[in-house]
């Protein structure tokens, strides 16, 4: 009854093209925005914001990036952690070596550098496809890890290969508290999400999906495969780079190559599979699932601390995590976003069966 488009007429092309055509969706979006801007700081403790919400939002940006590449363009990548690492290290070097650049510009430039790197990594994608490409992106992953682990220049010569990020200032205002960091990340998330949402329903987004569904057929109808694939790699690694930079600056507050290893790449891949491939909303649901699940498992494990040895607990956590992933894939292979869609469809008809 509440969620229905009855009576909402589209009287112009502009209305027909609207990003959220149903009024209730717009309200829900505005309500969510108000909640995350005003409600969260009032309700959530600093621990929740710093420990759960900031990483969740950052992972969501990273997941949007990978979803554009894998979910929308169909190019399987196991190297998203490498793009994040390139973003984080670029941001650090820009901010530390050229302090005149405004910090927001630093993040965007870091994304740009990651995008250039992404295009380089993606350049064989015209010839190499499927799992062969996935393993090729692994090459980028290991290469980047090695570069940042070997050359101290990237961390300003620190012998430990780990370095704290410099302070951030926006228009003379210093980012210090958790809440400042939260708003900074939130700003990037809102802008990035809107941009991605519009991107995937524009000409380039449709070209990506055509390439995903069948690249030879797409080429036949006049889509340039090289340009389309490389643009997906560029946009994807731009998001990855920004996410990596935010991860280093706003979450862990240090640059460390071990934070972007292969398992980070797999983690982001999990997020988009669990959340839903080819869905922007799915990125958030998947990120929430993957960020929150280990925390819940950990909390439960704490209940048994003392009774079961800790090594055993971590093994059981591994097993439950792996088991849940398999379970999810069996029950809903199209991810949480599909569940959400189904629920919405049901709601539109409710209380009638058809």
């Amino acid at each position: 009854m509440l969620y229905r488009e009855t009576g909402q007429f589209k009287t112009s092309y502009k209305k027909d093209m609207a990003i959220f055509p149903i009024r209730q969706d717009r309200w829900a979006l505005i309500a969510t925005l108000i909640f995350v801007v005003v409600g969260v700081p009032l309700l959530a403790t600093e621990h929740v914001i710093a420990g759960y919400l900031i990483p969740l939002l950052i992972w969501a940006i990273a997941a949007i990036g990978l979803n554009i590449l894998t979910g929308y363009t169909g190019q399987l990548s196991l190297g998203h952690g490498a793009f994040m690492a390139v973003g984080a290290y670029s941001a650090y070097n820009l901010a530390a070596r050229v302090p005149e650049i405004p910090i927001i510009l630093v993040f965007l430039l870091a994304g740009l550098i990651a995008a250039i790197f992404g295009v380089l990594v993606g350049s064989p994608s015209l010839r190499i496809k499927g799992f062969y490409l996935a393993v090729a992106t692994l090459a980028a992953q290991f290469f980047v890890e090695w570069v940042f682990a070997t050359f101290p220049w990237f961390v300003g010569g620190a012998a430990s290969m780990v370095i704290d990020t410099p302070k951030m200032t926006i228009f003379g205002y210093q980012i210090t508290t958790t809440l400042d960091n939260y708003y900074l990340v939130l700003g990037f998330v809102v802008v990035g999400t809107l941009y991605a949402k519009n991107l995937v329903r524009s000409e380039i987004g449709r070209a990506w999906m055509a390439i995903r569904d069948m690249d030879v057929a797409a080429e036949v109808i006049g889509i340039r495969p090289l340009y389309t694939k490389l643009s997906a790699f560029a946009v994807s690694s731009f998001y990855g780079g920004v996410a990596g930079a935010l991860y280093a600056f706003c979450y862990v507050k240090s640059v460390d190559f071990t934070a972007f290893d292969l398992f980070v790449s797999l983690k982001v891949l999990f997020m988009i599979i669990i959340g839903g491939m080819g869905s922007i909303l799915g990125c958030f649901l998947g990120a929430a699932f993957i960020v929150v699940l280990p925390i819940i498992l950990n909390e439960i494990a704490h209940l048994f601390a003392g009774q079961i040895p800790s090594a055993m607990l971590s093994n059981i956590e591994h097993m439950i995590f792996g088991g849940l992933i398999i379970f999810f894939l069996i029950v809903e292979p199209h991810g949480l976003a599909r569940l959400w869609m189904t629920a919405k469809e049901k709601l539109r008809l409710w209380p009638f069966p058809h």
Partner: protein, 301 residues
């Protein structure tokens, strides 16, 4: 023989033989990919599981051959369970979903292996001494480990056995039919589920052999599951669906990796073995996108 040349040959041979060890792990991937199109990310965890099971049974004082038989039985049981619980409900899903499921399986098996047994380092001695081959060392001044030679022999026997298994008899024909086309095989009455269980069991057996050999080298512990990552370049170089490719790919990767590490490593900072193999494989891929021995990819609209 001049010392430099002897050293170069030594490095080359050591590389070729260590490549055989990569091939062993890559074989497990190839078997499963051939028969079901699944890229089994959990192969490394299977190696760990097999090796841990084997070493712990040995430590209980069980006879060597009996321990192998028990470990083999466990791996076959595991294959049947995986097929029943994970693969059967996921049949006809896109390959990426199956790939993700095997990553989940990877986490599960790592936890299970270390949960049932433990996460200590276990020494394993499978009765092959890791000593230089004396007669070669004396006559040509080249150091070759007997252990590596034995590994190559075991690997050769295993490959011959698998090739025989894939070529002859009802099961061999069925395996090739399934590898060629799942649906067509099913429609002529080949029991797909049984074939998948057999293939996963065969991959489990290969994992056991690889686990035992790597286990003696590195000790049986968690890091043994990471050798799977070393096998991936071998896999793309040789082609995902070629047993011969896994062997040749292993030899090429092993030799060039060792040579690169010894002669190129000092120039650009060392530790390059984590990615050198991937780069070599990529160079080959640019020329042949389906790997050296992979089936030609024919694309139709």
């Amino acid at each position: 023989m001049p010392v430099e040349l002897a050293f170069a040959i030594e490095v080359l041979i050591a590389g070729l033989l260590s490549g055989v060890m990569y091939s062993l792990v890559a074989l497990g991937f190839v078997l499963i990919f051939k028969a079901s199109g699944v890229f089994n990310f959990a192969q490394g965890a299977m190696v760990l599981f097999a090796a841990l099971t084997f070493v712990r049974i040995l430590e209980m004082g069980v006879n060597f051959w009996l321990a192998i038989a028990i470990a083999l039985a466990v791996m076959i049981l595991l294959a049947v369970i995986i097929e029943r619980v994970m693969l059967r409900p996921l049949v006809a899903q896109p390959v990426i979903i199956l790939f993700m499921a095997t990553i989940g399986l990877n986490y599960f098996l790592e936890g299970l292996a270390q949960g049932i047994w433990d996460s200590q380092v276990h020494g394993l001695d499978i009765g092959i001494p890791d000593v230089p081959w004396m007669s070669i060392l004396e006559s040509t001044n080249i150091l070759i480990s007997l252990f590596d030679v034995w590994t190559a022999v075991i690997c050769g026997v295993l490959v011959l056995f698998l090739a025989f298994f894939f070529q002859k008899g009802r099961i061999g024909r069925a395996l090739r039919a399934v590898a060629d086309d799942n649906q067509a095989a099913m429609s002529v009455g080949i029991p797909l589920q049984l074939i998948w269980a057999i293939v996963w069991a065969a991959a489990g057996m290969v994992a056991l052999v690889a686990g035992a050999i790597w286990g003696q080298r590195l000790g049986v512990q968690f890091s043994i599951s990471l050798v799977a990552l070393k096998a991936l370049p071998v896999l793309i170089l040789g082609g995902f669906n070629s047993i011969a490719g896994a062997i040749i790919g292993g030899l090429i990767i092993g030799a060039s990796e060792k040579l690169a590490e010894v002669y190129l490593g000092p120039i650009i900072g060392g530790g390059i073995e984590s990615w050198a193999a991937y780069f070599i494989a990529m160079l080959f891929l640019i020329v042949r996108p389906q790997g050296l021995f992979g089936e030609k990819i024919i694309e139709r609209v």
